[in-house]
């Protein structure tokens, strides 16, 4: 199971910088960065290392199976972002 970024995300991209497999988008050099509501983890790329969890200054990152009830749908939201073929720049 992958990690998931939930609602508190403030687009501080510490997670992007620490991710060893570049699974988190849009990064700060992407043209989609400014307009993005939040950052998302590609479940197809995530290797479940958990490095992003501690790097996040607002603790917005959860294991998919461990999401709080009100943010359960963020596993799907993260997945959807990449299905839409957005900004892998």
């Amino acid at each position: 199971m992958a990690y998931v970024i939930a609602a508190p995300c403030v687009s501080d991209f510490s997670c992007v910088e620490i991710c060893p497999v570049d699974a988190i988008h849009p990064g700060p050099s992407s043209p989609a960065f400014e307009a993005a509501e939040q950052l998302y983890i590609d479940p197809g790329t995530c290797i479940n290392c958990g490095a992003c969890v501690e790097a996040c200054p607002v603790l917005a990152i959860y294991e998919a199976g461990n999401l709080p009830e009100r943010w359960k749908h963020y596993a799907e939201v993260n997945r959807q972002y990449f299905l839409q073929g957005r900004t892998l720049a």
Binding site: S11, F13, E34, E37, P57, R70
Partner: protein
């Protein structure tokens, strides 16, 4: 390695990220003095972020505190650059100065009746409920039944949500005590969020909208938009927009509960006039419909119809706006300090040596907390490039010399130790009440907590051993 002395003006997200970036550079050593208008740091993270969003405020403890407490950083709070110290003086005192002062104003609607009592900026209401000392006495009257929020960004949703949230929930937050009292006696039953365009073009983000699904005792209605994909947009809506529509549909399909408060999303309406004699009583709204323009974009255009809505409180939430900084060039159109990639430039386009800017006052008031991290890097890159090219400002004064001057201008400046004492005081008061903190909301109380005042013989005096 040369030591570069830098002043950062403003201890909000923009300033803290500038410091993070400066501390991480290896081209030269830095010594940073961080000037802040208030005795407390964190800018809008403290006085803007909603009290019911404690997760976002964790960034202070988990990120900004590390920069603030770094040995190379000196906090100088309760000092107004532009008033206590002139911008020109800072230029002389430091190698480089970074202005990260944010926005102290907002966009007005420019409508007849806008100056009536009861019409305020959401920005002011937010500063009020978050305990900003300058807004403690805000004349906000919650004795009416309906409030209208003009605008539909995240700020609009924040103020609507705070007006609708049960007091018991707010009591668990760090909302200012005076705001809790005002909201306790609030008679507001309905909050209308007025959007010029359609639900498909909503400005708020999904997370903020979805919070209404978890708001106890509140029904949500949508007016002015049937949530059916408009002609000209079929299949073109972004997935973010589609997600908002799905959420709105879920919200309006819930069965209204008698006695609940109500939040109404009123789409496709433009405010045209506020009326009332002593205070605002009504808002007249022009109805819009969608029309495809020459570029194929859907625009909201007036349909010619108007209606009026009774309201005793109208909060404009159509954007924050930067204010000019005395002594620095200001681009009045973009409401930013005139700059190129963070280098402050005069009206003739020539760079002011050693002067930089970052955050909202550099790029305009948009983006979230983390947007400022990217913004700060660009500015610090410019600063480092200039230093590498030997284009620094005038040589800096020593740390001690600066502090001696600051102490003359503002004897009650607040150090890191002073802020930490304020922080401890607030958290300790909160622990008793099972709240994250009970904020101090006026400067004298903050200075007392910072142990800056002693009740000596002959009345209060300043107790300070100047640190160096």
């Amino acid at each position: 390695v040369k030591t570069v002395r830098v002043a950062v003006v403003g201890a909000g997200a923009a300033g803290m990220y500038a410091i993070e970036s400066l501390l991480g550079r290896r081209e030269f050593a830095v010594e940073i003095d961080l000037y802040e208008l208030l005795p407390t740091p964190w800018g809008l993270v403290r006085t803007g972020v909603a009290p019911d969003h404690p997760e976002k405020k964790q960034i202070c403890d988990r990120q900004f505190s590390f920069q603030l407490q770094d040995a190379r950083v000196r906090f100088i709070g309760n000092v107004a650059v532009g008033r206590d110290i002139a911008a020109a003086e800072l230029n002389q005192w430091y190698d480089s100065v970074i202005y990260a002062v944010g926005a102290t104003g907002d966009f007005r609607m420019v409508l007849p009746g806008e100056d009536l009592a009861g019409c305020l900026a959401a920005r002011e209401f937010i500063a009020f409920y978050n305990g900003h000392p300058d807004f403690k006495a805000l004349p906000i009257d919650l004795s009416c039944e309906r409030a209208i929020v003009v605008g539909n960004g995240n700020v609009a949703l924040d103020v609507a949500r705070i007006l609708a949230t049960p007091i018991a929930a707010l009591e668990k937050t760090d909302i200012a005590v005076h705001a809790l009292e005002a909201l306790r006696s609030s008679r507001i039953r309905e909050i209308v969020i007025l959007a010029r365009r359609s639900a498909w073009q909503a400005a708020f983000n999904n997370p903020e909208l979805e919070e209404f699904e978890h708001l106890a005792g509140v029904d949500v209605a949508v007016e002015g938009d049937d949530l059916v994909e408009p002609n000209g947009m079929q299949g073109l809506a972004s997935w973010e927009a589609q997600r908002k529509i799905d959420t709105l549909r879920r919200l309006v399909s819930r069965k209204p509960v008698p006695g609940n408060k109500r939040i109404v999303f009123r789409f496709l309406g433009t405010p045209v006039e506020l009326t009332g004699t002593d205070k605002v009583r009504q808002l007249r709204i022009a109805h819009n419909h969608l029309q495809t323009d020459a570029q194929g974009r859907l625009q909201a255009v007036p349909s010619g119809q108007t209606s009026t809505l009774d309201a005793g409180l109208v909060l404009r939430a159509i954007g924050y706006r930067g204010s000019p900084m005395p002594g620095l060039p200001f681009d009045a159109v973009r409401a930013v300090i005139r700059n190129v990639q963070g280098r402050v430039v005069g009206d003739d386009g020539a760079a002011l040596p050693g002067v930089y800017t970052t955050g909202w006052i550099k790029r305009g008031c948009r983006g979230v907390i983390g947007s400022n991290r990217k913004c700060a890097r660009e500015t610090v890159d410019s600063l480092v490039d200039d230093w590498t090219m030997g284009l620094g400002g005038s040589p800096a004064l020593s740390k001690d010399a600066v502090l001696a001057l600051v102490s003359k201008r503002q004897p009650a400046w607040v150090s890191l130790g002073g802020w930490l004492a304020i922080d401890r005081h607030e958290r300790s008061a909160g622990r008793q009440k099972q709240r994250p903190r009970v904020k101090l909301t006026d400067i004298p109380s903050m200075l007392d907590a910072a142990k800056l005042r002693d009740e000596g013989p002959g009345g209060p005096r300043l107790a300070r051993d100047v640190e160096s």
